[in-house]
Amino acid sequence: TLLGIVCTDVKVDPESMRSILRHTTSKSFNCISIDGDTSTNDTVNFFANGAAAPAGASPVRYIPRKQMADESTASATEQADFEAFTRVLDNFFVDLAQLVVRDGEGATKFVTIRVRSDEGYVPAKRAAVSIARSALVKTALYGKDANWGRILCAIGYAPGIMGSDTLPVHQFATRDSKSRDSSPVVIPSRTSVSFIPADGSEELKLLVRGEPEQVDEQRAKQILEQEDLEILVRLEDDGAEAPARRRRRSEAVFWTCDFSHEYVTINGDYRT
């Protein structure tokens, strides 16, 4: 179970609290997984008592994206306060959520999964969730095995990712507007996977636009020895020389950990 309690002495409009919390949670606590089990009890409470606000201060108010930069609905000051407060909250909530992942039962790795797509945020997040939930990906990470095949496999069976199997194979490679609704949002020839080391050293490319790379095993071993690791998945990789497509480029970031023997011991020994 995840529980969270966050308190601030900022003055916030009571009617805005729910929207602010929902937005912040969607990119933090709802983007973590230790074992893929959603509890019956998960709750985050957020309180804002205004105790530090100067007399006469206006409350911070939620401003929908469509209304940003529209001074008839929110003044420039209100917008600036909302943006600044949202940045503080987003970073704060992410830091809290990451602490939970770092304490994953039996975990030895802290893994950031970053998925880029030009089909929008939803398919990117679905792919990230599928990777994070895969027992085979997580056990490979525990074993320090650069098993990108399991990562690809997990992307391929993600809900909403699998395309229609009634389309002819050649249509998977084109963006026919008539078949848009039923064509897959993941195309193997546009998919690349890399490991990004936590120490800032060079990216290790594992798969480039659907073609496996000759992986330097020693380099892979060095990267996987570190506690922190980033898995970068590009679902929109057309190569540096391809013309830029006009699409919504989105990025989903998800945090998870590995599966170890210790996780099984802890939960197998747990007694009700």
């Binding site: 409470n45 957020f46 606000a53 704060f92």
Partner: protein, 214 residues
């Protein structure tokens, strides 16, 4: 169980903090789980003045009693015109999730909220509680509610604003966690750059973690 924090996790434990004005935190021992005879298992975080609040809850179909009760508190507060700025805080127990516990479980969750309200003179049976409720632990077992309600006055006495108070609360909500998770920081907003605001938060969880909250 031994609660010593592993050496590798010590770096995540803050030795000090900057906590938001007007909030208090604390912990107490109730003995929710019979195997726990010494570690605090009740926590309380409150605002000295009632304030606005919001919450997100699990979308699991089998919502625990404290989830249902707290959702209902928000719903009733808004629907009956009581307002969304009347919240006192949240009372939390570890050791038992009070989930899949039927009508009695709901009564127990409400009892936790009402007993906490009474400590602040907030009791009015015709209005929704001012206190939210959370529980964590084993699913399918009922709370030892008398132990909890008997300990709540002591919990109220233990409230404070120091770093130690916040750490104690963060520790009391833990179950299989190997370390308490607490962060605090300060910031400013453009409208009043000379005003320092604070934010503090605690969280728990190490297993059964894949939140999908709304």
């Amino acid at each position: 169980a031994d609660r010593a924090i592993p050496a590798a996790k010590q770096k995540y434990i803050p030795v000090s903090g900057t906590y938001p004005k007007g909030f208090l935190a604390g912990s107490a021992f109730a003995g929710v789980k019979s195997s726990n005879t010494k570690y605090d298992d009740l926590a309380l975080v409150v605002s000295e003045e009632a304030c606005p609040a919001a919450a997100v809850f699990t979308k699991n179909i089998f919502k625990a009693a404290p989830v249902i009760t707290s959702k209902q508190t928000f719903f009733d507060s808004k629907k009956n015109g009581h307002g969304l700025d009347r919240f006192r805080g949240v009372v939390v127990n570890s050791g038992c999730a009070n989930a899949v516990t039927g009508k009695l479980g709901l009564e127990h969750a409400e009892a936790m909220a009402r007993t906490t309200d009474q400590c602040f003179g907030d009791s009015s049976p015709d209005a929704p509680p001012h206190t939210l409720v959370m529980s964590t632990g084993v699913i399918g077992q009922r709370l030892p509610i008398d132990r909890i309600t008997n300990a709540i006055p002591k919990l109220h006495e233990n409230l404070g604003s120091s770093h130690e108070h916040w750490m104690a609360a963060a520790q009391a909500i833990c179950t299989t966690d190997t370390f308490p998770k607490l962060i605090s920081r300060t910031f400013t907003l453009p409208s009043h750059p000379d005003t320092t605001y604070s934010i503090a938060g605690m969280t728990k969880g190490a297993g059964m973690i894949h939140p999908n909250m709304g």
